[in-house]
Symmetry: C2
Subunit: 325 residues, 2 copies
């Protein structure tokens, strides 16, 4: 576990336990198959970054309440729903170093289980009784699927531009992280300025997060990542390191890389593409971009009074760009 993340978790320990209680209450069903899959998901759960961001955003402005814990549950359910569908979409066999839901239960069940989790998330949201919260969630869900569809469109044509890349990661990743922070703030504050600040924090944090994620596909190691390196390249996903390298590379070299992607890359090709990105500065440029958005995230919460929660919010940014997985 990354030390920064452990520090953040310690700061939010009590709140996190309360969120976990709420999560367990929400997830009950009378269908054996659903319970089995739910248990598997809970056993192999992720780092809980999104619930942590909800709790942290609320703590930055006031004291979390039942709605805060419910929102933390809702975003985790929504996130899990999209992961289950994404693994179907990407035909991913491994998630968090364990077999994915589709690897075990096949695509049919995974599609329906994703739908089920999404519905559970929305039902929990109606409990809060705030239509604004419902709107943010529905809009976020739309951006998540829209982003993924846009990504497929682009990977087919292999022609994504820098601007389109930012639109794409803003939809597929930053939208939900921004929603976590905005929703966390709404549960404790009526101030629209607070809401805007936290949303900006989340949006920039989310963009930095995805750039780092895309970098890890080039620089990470499989044993640490819990999934193979170069997975994006296999899927013909052109991310920032390659986009930035294409800007500097001679047209001839760019063509060679595009050809490799078109035919489908093997291990050797992945190494070649990583070297290409090193040579033409794509890895450095992407790293700089991640740092740029990380700074913007920090700047958006500069006005809040110092203390363990502000420090955690800043540390969260540092965690996102320094993590190895």
């Amino acid at each position: 576990m990354h030390t920064y993340l452990r520090q953040i978790q310690n700061t939010l320990k009590t709140d996190y336990s309360k969120y976990k209680e709420t999560f367990a209450t929400v997830m009950t069903s009378n269908v054996v198959l659903i319970d089995k899959i739910t248990k598997y998901i809970v056993r192999h759960k992720g780092k809980g970054l999104r619930p942590l961001l909800v709790l942290l955003s609320a703590r930055l402005l006031g004291n979390p309440n039942e709605s805060t814990y419910l929102v933390a549950t809702i975003v985790e359910l929504l996130h899990t729903a999209t992961l289950v569908h994404d693994d179907v979409v990407d035909n991913a066999q491994v998630r968090r170093s364990f077999p994915s839901i589709n690897a075990i239960w096949k695509n049919k069940i995974s599609v329906l289980m994703g739908d089920y989790l999404l519905s559970k998330s929305l039902i929990a949201a109606t409990q809060i009784g705030n239509i604004e919260i419902m709107h943010i969630l529905a809009e976020t869900a739309k951006r998540l699927s829209k982003g993924e569809l846009f990504q497929i469109e682009k990977s087919r044509k292999l022609d994504i531009m820098e601007e389109e890349y930012y639109q794409l990661i803003s939809d597929k990743t930053a939208a939900l992280i921004a929603a976590c922070c905005e929703l966390g703030s709404i549960t404790v504050s009526n101030n629209s300025e607070d809401r805007k600040n936290l949303r900006t924090y989340g949006e920039n944090l989310g963009i930095a997060f995805q750039i780092k994620d895309d970098l890890l596909d080039y620089e990470g190691s499989q044993s640490v990542l819990g999934k193979p390196v170069g997975a994006d390249l296999k899927e013909k996903k052109i991310t920032l390191p390659l986009i930035m390298s294409f800007k500097n590379a001679p047209a001839k070299d760019k063509k060679t890389i595009i050809k490799l992607l078109k035919k489908g890359v093997d291990r050797g090709d992945i190494k070649k593409i990583v070297s290409f990105c090193e040579e033409y500065g794509g890895l450095n440029s992407a790293q700089d971009a991640a740092l740029h958005f990380a700074q913007k995230a920090k700047d958006s919460i500069i006005g809040y009074s110092d203390g363990p929660y502000l420090r955690s919010a800043k540390l969260f940014v540092d965690y996102v760009i320094s993590r190895k997985r």
Copy 2:
């Protein structure tokens, strides 16, 4: 087109045009791929039964308004989203006599497109600003996926009981039809009695609808249905005709049929199973059950004053049980 359905459509002509306008307004996007698929869906749209039920329920109690047309749009989007996912789940290549979305764009895109349509549906719902409506929709979406998951669980074990069958079709089909009628009523009336009556009408209508659907898988013809006969049996889905036949058949004959289903049925097997259901009264029993729920649907709206809308609501019931596809 079935004459009853044409009559109902004529009665609701003006309202239906307004609903279609609202639908077109809601469905706009800036992603080429999404627009392409949306156009394909609209071109090969279904009979619009669910929007019609929303409009009819509202007309039975008062005058439809913007919320009514929006609700009609929402239920059609939700329904389309589930159809897109169901075709992935069932690996169906044909829908409404045309290639299914997954047949053209493959599973990846179909999963995401389903998610996108569901989100669009929920975003439209937040526009109405009524949290009760949101709750009904989220609960309905949950029941749809829960029903399908339960069906998979049962088809694996080939051991569904009559009671479980009713639970299943109530979730996977009647839930949405009941929601259509309940939501239609909510948009024009605050009376909880009205709401309950319309919901009961929809629930029973939905059960009759699914029993008839399951019967058509035995009795229909491919050219009229727009999909192959015996599709359920191929999917190892045991529906009411077979459940009722199993009750009357000798254990030995039941075992033979179960064996056929286990190994996977071909055309000859389907004919055998249909004969089996004729012999042991399963087709008649299922027909009787459909009529029983149809009557219950009619009974639940008995108190409303006579006129074109009440007549249409009754005609809708007759349509559902007399249709050939």
